[in-house]
């Protein structure tokens, strides 16, 4: 029987698809952990700099099962990792209630209570240390704030913690106006205050492999 090159190609594709499917099924899902997670937002104003802090970061990170065991990550980048991260806006606290209320209103927290990030692409940046930690990644994704979604590129660092937990951390500069948020411009104590448009978000997000 003469080998039909077209059929051969189809069969190969089907076989690869099966392998991919098998690999896809062999994934590990990490879920958010309450201990060790932290997010801060730093901003400026004409009076003084300000910071809000939160301790609740939800979501998941999902990757090939080899992510747990292959410290080099050579066999762990396929299938591509997935991640979704959520931060309830009202858990971000400045220690000043009125400022928190204004921030929540500015971010339309009632209608859009969560800041969301959805990972689209994740590439290792530089060399992976023999210990497997820390590892830097270039990531691409979508960030949704106040109901407005924008592309978001970030350099993310992953640390392997004890008990197999992972800590992802990053720093990202953003502009309020990019998400349709007018920087608050209150008059407090007779002093007009202008809040800067630029803010810096920093997060440390701890996840642990979900036990079945």
């Amino acid at each position: 029987m003469k080998l039909n090159s077209h059929n051969w190609t189809l069969n190969l594709a089907a076989a690869l698809a099966l392998v991919w499917a098998a690999q896809g099924a062999d994934t590990v899902r990490y879920t958010a952990q309450p201990q060790g997670s932290k997010v801060t937002m730093d901003g400026t104003s004409t009076i003084h700099d300000w910071t809000v802090e939160g301790k609740i970061i939800g979501g998941f990170f999902e990757a090939a099962a080899a992510w747990e065991t292959d410290k080099s990550l050579k066999t762990a980048m396929t299938p591509p990792p997935k991640a979704e991260v959520t931060i309830p806006i009202r858990t971000l606290k400045s220690g000043k209630e009125r400022m928190d209320e204004i921030m929540q209103e500015a971010m339309k927290a009632k209608e859009n209570p969560l800041i969301r990030f959805k990972l689209a692409e994740m590439k290792i940046k530089g060399d992976v240390p023999a210990s497997g930690t820390p590892v830097k990644f270039d990531t691409k994704g979508e960030l949704t704030v106040s109901g407005v979604t924008k592309p978001c590129d970030m350099e993310v660092t992953m640390d392997r913690l004890e008990d197999g937990k992972l800590k992802f951390s990053a720093t990202k500069e953003l502009k309020m106006t990019d998400f349709g948020i007018a920087p608050p411009n209150p008059n407090i104590g007779g002093v007009g205050i202008k809040t800067g448009d630029e803010i810096i978000i920093k997060f440390e997000w701890v996840v642990a492999a979900k036990k079945s």
Binding site: P34, T91, R98, N187, I188
Partner: protein, 459 residues
């Protein structure tokens, strides 16, 4: 359940921080006011229009006497504290309270109110000796609780309340010690009551004087006995408890310690109508390190109203109707902020004028005859209760939605979040102040020195 009541002309210690006429007189005499800068809401006339509104918490009022009605009036000033339910078995009280909160559901019993799912938080404004069961039932019903001070008329009841609050960390419990939530007093405590300002603490003296009978008129003998519970020595904590609990608490707070012994004196000198609860009292509290605090009160004379004086080795601070004056000793070190202050004469003393917590920009332009903070201590206190109740509820919800219902992790998170609470008295402060007040009354009634150990203040 019955209601707490007071004659309008005889408002008790709870109006201790209201008004400002004496403060104005002191200012005219050349005092040294230390006033907290007011926290003003943002002006919406700027480039943005954010109002910064808190999320509403639906309130139920248990006990609809005169003080409860003052609470309802104050809640009317707070957009995020709608009164949705009232409970009182006495129809006239329920009707009067209902007139102030026309949209509130009216109940004859607190049980019905606690079963109302609309009610998120309750304010307990009944006679002191009825607090315990109401607090415990309210917490069991899943309601946040604001309990008037003193928490109870016995140490056992106060401990039971504190334990119940402690056992419900997912619910907000606040003791009605208004000074703890008052921005003016809290700022004074934070920024001015410290060794750098008044040196080594020496002694404190608190006073509350107001000529009034404390006896309320009533339509029948049974009702009279009920509403005059303050004159019933079996359940009344007397002037030291019903009035002094707030001032004794401020002394505990400013000294940063709790009394180790209390001596008291008291007599019925003016209102000899058969009562056994003294109308004139004096209490001396001993604190660690040899500090002493005096509380004296009479309802037989109004001279000098109420005030607090804290003496330190470098200066004296007089607190009066939410304003404070600092009198520095001649050999006191330079504080550094004098440059921002006015120097004024007060009788034969000279001192500094500065708003505690005031900014450099506002201090120089401060109007010394400006009225006192228009926001009352009660409003601060209720505002803090509502905000803290909502934030606690929201924190529990956000945590469990994301991390599940791991109780120990949740409690750890809530403990961490306590740093974001609006200043207010919790069960610990409420218990400490109540035990101090009850023991002070015990010292008065028995004429004996009462010794206290730290365990007496534990739940």
């Amino acid at each position: 359940m019955t209601t707490m009541n007071m004659d309008q002309s005889e408002l008790n210690r709870r109006d201790f921080l209201a008004g400002g006429s004496f403060a104005t007189v002191m200012m005219l005499m050349g005092g040294i006011p230390l006033r907290a800068a007011e926290e003003t809401k943002p002006d919406t006339a700027g480039g943005t229009n954010y109002k910064g509104e808190a999320t509403p918490v639906n309130v139920g009022i248990i006990g609809c006497g005169l003080w409860a009605r003052e609470i309802i009036r104050t809640l009317a000033l707070i957009p995020h504290g709608p009164v949705v339910a009232l409970a009182d078995p006495y129809p006239a009280y329920l009707r009067r309270a209902g007139d102030l909160a026309p949209n509130a559901q009216r109940y004859k019993t607190h049980t019905e109110l606690l079963a109302d799912p609309k009610v998120q938080a309750v304010i307990i404004a009944t006679p002191t000796h009825q607090h315990k069961d109401l607090v415990i039932e309210a917490l069991k019903a899943g309601k946040h609780v604001y309990c008037e001070a003193p928490l109870a008329h016995t140490v056992e009841d106060a401990r039971a309340i504190a334990r119940a609050a402690k056992e419900h960390p997912k619910l907000n419990f606040q003791a009605g010690l208004q000074a703890r939530a008052d921005l003016q007093i809290a700022n004074l405590h934070k920024w001015r009551i410290q060794p750098a300002v008044w040196g080594k603490p020496l002694t404190a003296r608190q006073q509350w004087n107001k000529k009034q009978s404390w006896r309320l008129a009533s339509p029948n003998p049974e009702r009279e006995a009920e509403i005059n519970w303050r004159l019933d020595k079996a359940v009344s904590t007397g002037l030291a408890g019903e009035i002094g609990v707030h001032q004794l608490d401020v002394t505990n707070w400013f000294f940063g310690s709790l009394p180790t012994a209390i001596t008291g004196f008291g007599s019925v000198l003016q209102w000899k109508d058969g009562r056994e609860v003294p109308d004139t009292v004096r209490v001396v509290c001993e604190y660690p390190g040899g500090l002493t605090g005096i509380f004296e009160s009479t309802i037989a004379n109004s001279f000098e109203g109420e005030l607090a004086i804290f003496l330190g080795s470098d200066g004296a601070i007089m607190l009066r109707e939410r304003k404070a004056w600092l009198f520095k000793e001649a050999d006191a070190p330079v504080l550094g902020w004098e440059v921002y202050s006015k120097r004024e004469e007060f009788y034969r003393e000279s001192g500094l004028t500065m708003g505690a917590g005031g900014t450099k920009q506002t201090t120089h332009t401060e109007d010394r005859f400006a009225p006192a903070d228009p926001k009352s201590p009660l409003q601060y206190s209720l505002d803090a209760f509502l905000i803290n109740s909502h934030n606690l509820e929201a924190g529990v919800k956000d945590f469990t939605e994301i991390y599940g219902d791991d109780e120990s992790q949740l409690l750890e998170y809530l403990k961490d979040q306590e740093k974001n609470r609006q200043p207010a008295a919790g069960w610990k402060e409420g218990l400490a102040a109540t035990v101090t007040a009850i023991k002070a009354n015990q010292a008065i009634v028995t004429g004996r020195r009462v010794e206290l150990s730290p365990s007496d203040f534990e739940a």
